[in-house]
């Protein structure tokens, strides 16, 4: 009797815990399972594989840091094209698209409901279809012969004498990628910012005007942005992810991986190049880890900027 007691109290506390928390874990289990299989484990596997040589035929061979060292010291293409391209692309599309989203959201908030809704719909619509359906449009627009819309337009204005191979020319591919990505960058973050601006208590602006705020610009800096920091941060994280996600655009536009003379080669394309064309999975995994770290780093920076004190 005496000896059975601790066990039964353990059982009863276990039972109590089960009664209290089991249903919570039950509700979460479906999501948690999918999260584990398709997000958490792939990240873990990527990290593990990044320390190996793996060609999918033989079992992975442990290499320690060799992939990372190769990436930093010997991968000529990565250092000469991929990294500069990615930085150039990210710096313009990330902050550029983010700023554009905020300015547009702010302007929309100054309009009555009906025109605001129509404009918001138009600005958001490009990000609804990002990718597939749009290739048809962009390839027709930038087509390299005289039937391409841009070529035909420039020819008719006599600005150029012969059609330009927009998507196959190294000097034009990157600018076109940037324009196309900016065009479709008014995504979820843009909607969040618009909602955030509309939520701000109007009394804050009154109080601000009493405190001596004179113009719209001061209003934005001292009231609007501080009052919607959480939405600004959400928008920033979404913008960073969208920027790195958009990496496939160069391959889609030019129709080849690697892109012509690596002009539009971004980290994402480099991963696919090594992973699915050369079957160097370990090396591709190391590049993936670098990409995830870059996203994480920029999100930390955004976090710093919009921390609520």
């Amino acid at each position: 009797m005496q000896t059975a007691k601790p066990q039964s109290s353990f059982m009863s506390s276990l039972k109590k815990w089960w009664m209290k928390e089991a249903s919570a874990y039950g509700f979460i289990s479906g999501y948690a399972l999918m999260f584990l299989i398709f997000i958490a484990i792939p990240v873990a596997v990527a990290i593990l594989l990044s320390f190996t040589f793996f060609d999918t035929i033989q079992p992975p061979r442990f290499l320690a840091l060799k992939n990372y060292i190769t990436l930093l010291t010997q991968d000529d293409i990565f250092m000469r094209y991929v990294l500069p391209n990615t930085i150039q692309f990210a710096v313009i599309v990330g902050p550029g698209g983010y700023l554009l989203a905020f300015i547009l959201a702010w302007m929309l908030a100054q309009l009555p409901k009906v025109p605001r809704t129509i404009f918001a719909l138009i600005l958001y619509s490009p990000s609804m279809t990002a990718g597939v359906a749009m290739t048809v449009v962009w390839q027709a627009l930038f087509s390299g012969d005289q039937t391409g819309y841009l070529n035909s337009f420039l020819l008719s204005l006599n600005l150029i004498q012969e059609p330009i191979q927009w998507l196959q020319s190294p000097q034009y591919l990157m600018p076109i990628m940037i324009i196309v990505t900016l065009w479709s960058s008014m995504g979820v973050g843009f909607l969040a910012m618009l909602a955030g601006i509309l939520e701000i208590n109007p009394e804050l602006y009154e109080a601000g005007s009493i405190d001596g705020i004179r113009n719209r610009f001061q209003e934005i800096i001292y009231i609007t942005i501080p009052s919607m920091k959480p939405q600004m941060l959400f928008g920033a994280v979404m913008a960073i992810v969208a920027t790195f996600q958009a990496g496939a655009i160069g391959v889609t536009l030019s129709g080849s991986n690697p892109t012509p003379q690596y002009a539009g080669q971004l980290i994402v394309n480099h991963i696919e190049d090594y992973g699915f064309l050369r079957y160097e999975m370990g090396y591709a995994a190391a590049v993936s880890v670098v990409l995830l770290l870059m996203v994480w780093f920029f999100a930390r920076v955004a976090n710093r900027l919009f921390r609520e004190d």
Partner: protein, 302 residues
């Protein structure tokens, strides 16, 4: 006197954000927004116009932007056509619709139940799990294409219907948005029901679900867009042509590498891209007010 002046000044200020009607001071915004949205709209107009062009207009020189003699020929061609491996196009479309419907339904259930627990239940791992999901907002699926490929291969999900759906269900943004929305529901509502002896399933079904319709609509749209536009799954994980989706079929029409983008394919590709685009647009138009009310809860604490 002072009060009246104050009211005048406050109405002057309120005129700025979310005004009730038109005011001349808004003109400058229209002046910027109108040309910009016209530019943003061009590709969309092009999709509509291009899809109805007869062959001579598709290849007219100089190219014409707007259709002059609209025809349904492109759509008829699209549906009477077989793909290279003699699968009718309607099969791809059927696959896409089925995959999208199941994905949207399942991701709504999976995200909303998890969000309810994360927001209103008390349990040990709650903070940790939410923190992990917030970090996962930064997840870039393309970065882990290769490990995902290996895992899907090991789980024998290759060439199955499920591989279209399961990876789409873990949607950190979806869970995040619903959780933030449920946070807006007072805890007292749930506690009162618990005191009355209601079970969690009952509370979720009878109280939470009806109150979070806008958030449900929002993640339904997001998962719809992700599933409907997804061509990668078919390209990477499906070898069986009869399980591939319409989005993938469209990429075979447009990709220049396969040499498929010949004269005959142009009109078909235009019609197919309109079919790809239209559902996105229609669903968003109908649900945009729900999306906006969800987004006002979207803040991320720094």
């Amino acid at each position: 006197m002072r009060r009246r002046w104050f009211q005048f000044s406050s109405s002057y200020r309120n005129r700025g954000i979310n005004p009730q009607g038109f005011h001349p001071s808004q003109l400058k915004f229209y002046l910027i927004l109108l040309p910009l949205s016209a530019f943003m709209l061009l590709p969309m107009v092009f999709i509509f116009s291009h899809a109805f062009k007869p062959p001579d207009e598709l290849f007219a020189y100089p190219p014409r932007f707007f259709v002059v003699n609209p025809t349904l020929k492109n759509f008829i061609d699209l549906f009477s056509r077989m793909s290279a491996s003699s699968i009718p196009v309607s099969r791809y479309l059927f696959n896409s619709i089925l995959v999208t419907v199941v994905t949207v339904a399942a991701s709504v259930v999976v995200s909303s139940t998890a969000a309810y627990a994360l927001s209103k239940k008390r349990f040990k791992l709650k903070q940790t799990l939410f923190a992990i999901n917030t970090v996962a907002l930064m997840f870039v699926p393309i970065a882990v294409t290769i490990p995902r490929f290996l895992i899907i291969e090991r789980l024998h999900l290759m060439d199955t219907f499920w591989v279209h759906i399961l990876p789409m269900l873990a949607m950190p943004v979806g869970l995040f948005l619903i959780k933030q929305f449920i946070d807006g529901i007072p805890d007292e509502v749930v506690e009162a029901a618990q005191i009355d002896g209601a079970s969690d399933v009952w509370i979720y079904w009878q109280i939470i679900l009806p109150m979070i319709r806008p958030a449900i609509a929002t993640i339904a749209i997001l998962s719809f867009q992700a599933a409907w536009n997804n061509a990668d799954t078919s390209a990477l994980y499906i070898n069986n042509e009869s399980l591939k989706t319409f989005a993938f079929y469209l990429t075979t029409l447009t990709s220049t590498t396969t040499g498929a983008n010949v004269v005959a394919g142009q009109g078909i590709a235009a019609a197919a891209s309109l079919i790809m685009f239209l559902p996105n647009l229609i669903i968003f138009i109908f649900m945009q007010s729900q999306v906006m009310s969800t987004m006002s809860h979207s803040g991320l604490k720094g």
